[in-house]
């Protein structure tokens, strides 16, 4: 990539992200982007600002007819797909799944996903104090992995969210995924902790990217762990949490 070509495009970054380039310019910039690490970095750096723009709009309730019309179209799609695939209703496996998922899936037609319900379903979440429960896969009755949503301190990380994948049996480590977390200065780091019997044990340190996404290892066997937490600490980590958790996964 030549310096001249970069200079020709470097002012386009903002207009590109805002979709203010013409179609031809947009395609040219994307072609340039593929070979220009400087512009790639700049796009990554500025993208969170563009992603925040739609969030500045105060929410309005859409008309209920919109949802009805949309779902009717989706149901038609599903029916058409099933008919094209020659799939008929098979009550066995899907019936078990329906019993477990109950009313929420009451109106579902049998889809490929249900027919192939021997695939373990990654379902089962608890939020807050609602309590933990697990779903089983549709064929073997074995406990499956589940994802637990983190509670977030919205005063400190207003756009943050996170979830912890808890493996079946909780006998092994896992990964905590976060989104929308603020990037920390270079002298700070996010630190993951688990709490077992009142003891808080450090797990790992992590940073998030420009888009606020990140992942961190939780190495501890999760049996008897009642919470996984994230705090902001000085680079290198701390021996004990220095603040209340910004993210908290109650198990």
């Amino acid at each position: 990539m030549s310096v001249e070509r970069h200079q020709m495009h470097e002012e386009d970054v903002g207009a590109y992200l805002l979709r203010a380039l013409s179609d031809v310019e947009h395609r040219r910039f994307e072609a340039h982007l593929e070979e220009c690490p400087v512009c790639q970095d700049e796009v990554s750096r500025l993208r969170p600002a563009v992603n925040a723009l739609p969030r500045s709009v105060y929410p309005m309730a859409p008309p209920s007819a919109l949802k009805a019309s949309l779902m009717a179209e989706v149901e038609r799609d599903v029916r058409g797909r099933e008919e094209a695939a020659g799939i008929s209703h098979r009550p066995g496996a899907s019936a078990r799944v329906r019993r477990r998922l109950g009313g929420a899936f009451g109106s579902l037609r049998p889809t490929v996903a249900w027919v192939s319900a021997s695939v373990v379903l990654l379902i089962g979440v608890v939020s807050g104090a609602a309590g933990l429960y697990a779903l089983t896969d549709a064929t073997g009755g074995e406990e499956s992995s589940r994802s637990v949503v983190a509670q977030v301190d919205k005063t400190r990380v207003p756009f943050g969210s996170g979830s912890l994948l808890v493996p079946a049996g909780s006998r092994e480590g896992t990964v905590l995924r976060v989104h929308g977390m603020p990037e920390l200065e270079s002298d700070s780091v996010y630190q993951v902790w688990v709490r077992r019997d009142g003891e808080v044990i450090s797990q790992s340190l992590f940073h998030v990217g420009e888009n606020g996404d990140g992942a961190a290892a939780v190495t501890e066997d999760l049996r008897d762990v009642d919470a996984v937490m994230v705090t902001r600490e000085s680079a290198g980590g701390a021996k004990a949490p220095s603040e209340k958790p910004v993210l908290y996964v109650k198990l």
């Binding site: 979709r19 709009v57 779902m71 109950g102 989104h179």
Partner: protein
């Protein structure tokens, strides 16, 4: 806990797993969570309820039909959904007369205020708080930077159209877009602390 809660308590990313499997109930939940934000964005952009409904319907059908394209490592589900709504709204603005109508309107691209819905849930309250937070960061931008960003993002105008409207060189418009986004990014970061 009711069975309905089973799926409703899933995180967006997990809901998307089900959507990708072709599960219409999961898609319905996705719409319940983000349909309001999508519709609000479309309405903010086009200033007309019927067109905003059309855009929302097109965008969500496109989400359903291209559900395999979602990549969790490239951003949150909400960002992906709103990005698709935004693209659809821009396409609509550029292919029809909405622009002309709005350009001649005193309303311009200013925010359209509707009586706010009653805040029924914590999520809705959090969304309003989030909106206030981003607006506050936008409000701290110099007017000329904020203006070009709003004209481009919410108005769907190209840089050359903006240059013509504001009677300034294209390079200046592009520069203000870039500087404004950079400042907005920093402002959001500072507010988060």
């Amino acid at each position: 806990m009711s069975h309905t809660d089973d799926i409703e308590s899933l995180a967006d990313e997990e809901v998307m797993h089900l959507v990708r499997d072709g599960n219409p109930r999961a898609f319905e939940l996705l719409y319940d969570r983000h349909g309001g934000a999508g519709f609000s964005l479309a309405y903010r952009m086009v200033g007309d309820r019927v067109t905003a409904e059309d855009i929302s319907q097109e965008a969500f059908l496109s989400i359903w039909r291209s559900r395999h394209r979602y990549q969790a490592d490239r951003g949150s589900v909400r960002t992906w959904v709103l990005g698709i709504v935004h693209h659809r709204a821009i396409d609509a603005l550029r292919r029809n007369l909405v622009h002309d109508r709005r350009r001649s309107s005193a309303e311009g691209i200013e925010e359209r205020h509707e009586a706010p819905e009653r805040e029924r849930t914590d999520v809705e309250a959090a969304r309003r708080e989030e909106a206030a937070h981003v607006r506050s960061a936008l409000g701290e931008l110099p007017d000329e930077q904020c203006r070009v960003i709003e004209l481009a993002y919410f108005g769907g105008f190209s840089h050359s159209q903006i240059a013509e409207m504001l009677e300034m060189p294209i390079g200046t418009v592009k520069g203000r877009m870039r500087l404004g986004l950079d400042k907005l990014r920093k402002g959001l970061k500072e507010k988060v602390g």
